[in-house]
Symmetry: D2
Subunit: 247 residues, 4 copies
């Protein structure tokens, strides 16, 4: 079993400005998640943030990355189009991508989906109950029929995404809404997973079930195959083929 090399990317803005967020994530959401994922054996996890050179994801970094976990919100527009180009290319070549919460509106997720990725929302700190609708899916392993997050931001349908290839979780919100919270897509050779929870003002990423989902998603999205270099080759006809066409 090869080690899966993960980078948790975080814009790391709220954590430096908002004391409530700092309380939950004194070293940033990225560090919290990296600590949770880093088991030293199967997964080797590092972090990157928006203030790093080239948005934290230069070619050299991506060269040694199997899966990127993405958290962004107020800084979406600050991510350069070049970075988006690089990450999109890598995903299509086989790199895994796990997009969290407000990352639904990140440039890279919208680029890969091709749709609006819009949704409804409400910050009322209400209860979220996350149901597993595909209990045999690798990302659902080790989880109960449902689990609850005591206080979260609400996201509601319609969620402006292409029909997921596989739908693993659906959320129920105390205030009366539902949301497709765990969605899988294959794009090119890469696998993409979107997971809803994780508003910065709540300690969501400290919750064991949430960590289990993200850990499972990292394993599920790790590349299983040699990378495929995109191209539009001009295909020469084989001698036998020429014969057929002349035949």
């Amino acid at each position: 079993m090869k080690t899966i090399r993960v980078v948790v990317w975080n814009e790391n803005i709220h954590e430096r400005k908002n004391s409530r967020v700092q309380e939950h994530y004194p070293e940033g959401i990225h560090s919290c998640l990296a600590n949770a994922l880093n088991d030293g054996a199967e997964v080797s996890c590092k972090t990157a943030t928006l203030e790093d050179p080239e948005d934290g994801l230069p070619e050299s970094r991506l060269d040694e990355t199997d899966v990127v976990v993405w958290w962004g919100h107020v800084g979406h527009a600050r991510v350069s189009d070049r970075t988006v180009d690089r990450v999109q290319k890598r995903v299509l070549e086989g790199m895994g991508l796990v997009v969290l919460h407000s990352g639904h509106y990140s440039k890279v997720f919208k680029r890969l989906m091709g749709t609006t990725c819009s949704l409804g929302w409400r910050e009322a700190g209400e209860k979220e109950r996350i149901w597993t609708c595909d209990p045999g899916h690798p990302i659902a392993q080790g989880l109960p029929a449902y689990f609850e997050i005591p206080h979260e931001e609400m996201y509601s349908e319609p969620f402006g995404i292409p029909t997921p290839d596989e739908l693993v979780f659906i959320s129920w919100f105390q205030g009366g809404e539902v949301f497709r919270s765990g969605c899988c897509w294959r794009r090119g050779n890469g696998r993409i997973f979107y997971f809803r929870p994780g508003h910065e003002t709540f300690p969501t990423y400290h919750q064991p079930e949430v960590q289990t989902v993200i850990r499972n998603a990292v394993r599920w999205s790790a590349p299983q195959a040699p990378r495929w270099i995109d191209s539009c080759p001009n295909i020469k006809i084989s001698p036998e083929g020429v014969q057929q066409m002349e035949g």
Copy 2:
């Protein structure tokens, strides 16, 4: 615009035994739905019940039917396998099928899905809120962002179905569950729609929004193409093909 010929099929058992059901549906669920669908112009709707000869769906009847709407519950086992064979064949040839509520466990739905079609349930008369997650879908037309049914039986995930081709509605239940309530599949030339609501002890099918969904589903599932007769033809090679293979 050709008239769509619909048959609402109902096992018609609860209505004859349970006074509470009789109150809501004195002439049976089938009559309530047929009256709602029958607009005299675009849709011409008749009914059939389990006690009719050949389970109400002989070949001659299917010959003049474009869409079947199916309601069944305690009588699933009484539907003969021959009837299931006939209905499955017609759907694969192009006939539409709209399966309601406990019809998730009907022989014909399980046959077409190939899966368990199992789910969780609770009879507590709780509130159901039905969300449109695909607002541009033909079956969602004329409906608001969500609508509520004041009292319904609860169905919960996991729902043991193949991934729907299109997911139109997701239900939120007062007691804390969610369910994929409006699911579309194409099988062969036919279109299948499953719609969750409609427990017999509640007046659900009198509700305008519910009727709108079923009316839309009938239109969506009506055959759009000539029927295709299933076969495994032995294909002769064309003279030119022989030349190629000898070439």
Copy 3:
């Protein structure tokens, strides 16, 4: 039946430079297709080209358009990103899009797919045989089991697209390749169809079967529902919901 308002968009470059193309399409590919589609009754078809103001597709034009048919090749890069933004937005709101041949590499198709859209190719003027793999599909109506184009450019798998929602045609090429030639996707409220044939140096768009496919695709992709304006609304909780959360 409302008239479907179609715009055939063509970069119109080859036709003005290459005498062989001019021979087949003296008034441009767009005019050939518009004449074929324009039946005066169900479909009302106009044209637009790259040299028109705002790439031929200003807001005012899109306001009165139900379906865009797209042909581009050497001019992909000349289409402005603003035009791509406008067309993408309209498709997600419900406008149909039929992308032809080398349009697989157009900015707007790549934007909506999120993938490379790459493929293999060969210009040998070989025979293409197009098989219907979904004979009940609306886009396959009126077509035989297969039809042939005597001379075409070859496109081969792998085709770098998201898994199509529906696959209608697969091509067989004389030289030994295969290709998914008729692919359907739903994105937002819009429907997208990609159809492979139509190299500019062959009279492909004069062939009746090819015209039938494009005519069917226009009908299939015409909006069936009110347009949905994208947004991320902040949803207020209902008084009843507040009660539940406090309950």
Copy 4:
């Protein structure tokens, strides 16, 4: 890495009656495939045939089986419905199923698909070229852009199956046909792969590329999760839920 326990099931009829088949498979197609798959380490492969008790697949046997590989043709009708029930149930609980060639018409495949599974065919011993249309898929690993089988039975579209979740291979035939030759579905917790080649009168299963595909498919379809026992549980409402409903 746990060993994957495979059973290759074969009706084993042609091999005992037809000398040409005996020549290619003196110990039966099942033994040829089991030898190819049995690497002693990751995969442990045994065989079962129609003449064994309970069609070779009693409960006790399935209890210790992760993946079944299925070859059948003239004996489809001899497989008992009880056996089909058992195998279907296991697949829905998580067992993998790899269906080969004429197994497209086996009872168990048709049961799981819900469709006709019909196709066109020709026995002319023509060349088949199998294209990988999804080069990043686990089942395509170790294979070139395409590989050829010198002489095979032809299968042609339309193939009467539900749209595959993932399409890995498309075949080109010398006589002019195409076919979706490598198709993936998820049903319940189980994974199903259909692979086209393997007519009994040709030495197809001795070919290394064909063996690679089946080996990859066995790994891909091996259960990744605890088995899920199907049921329709009556879900009690939680005290908190009752409070909400009374609230």
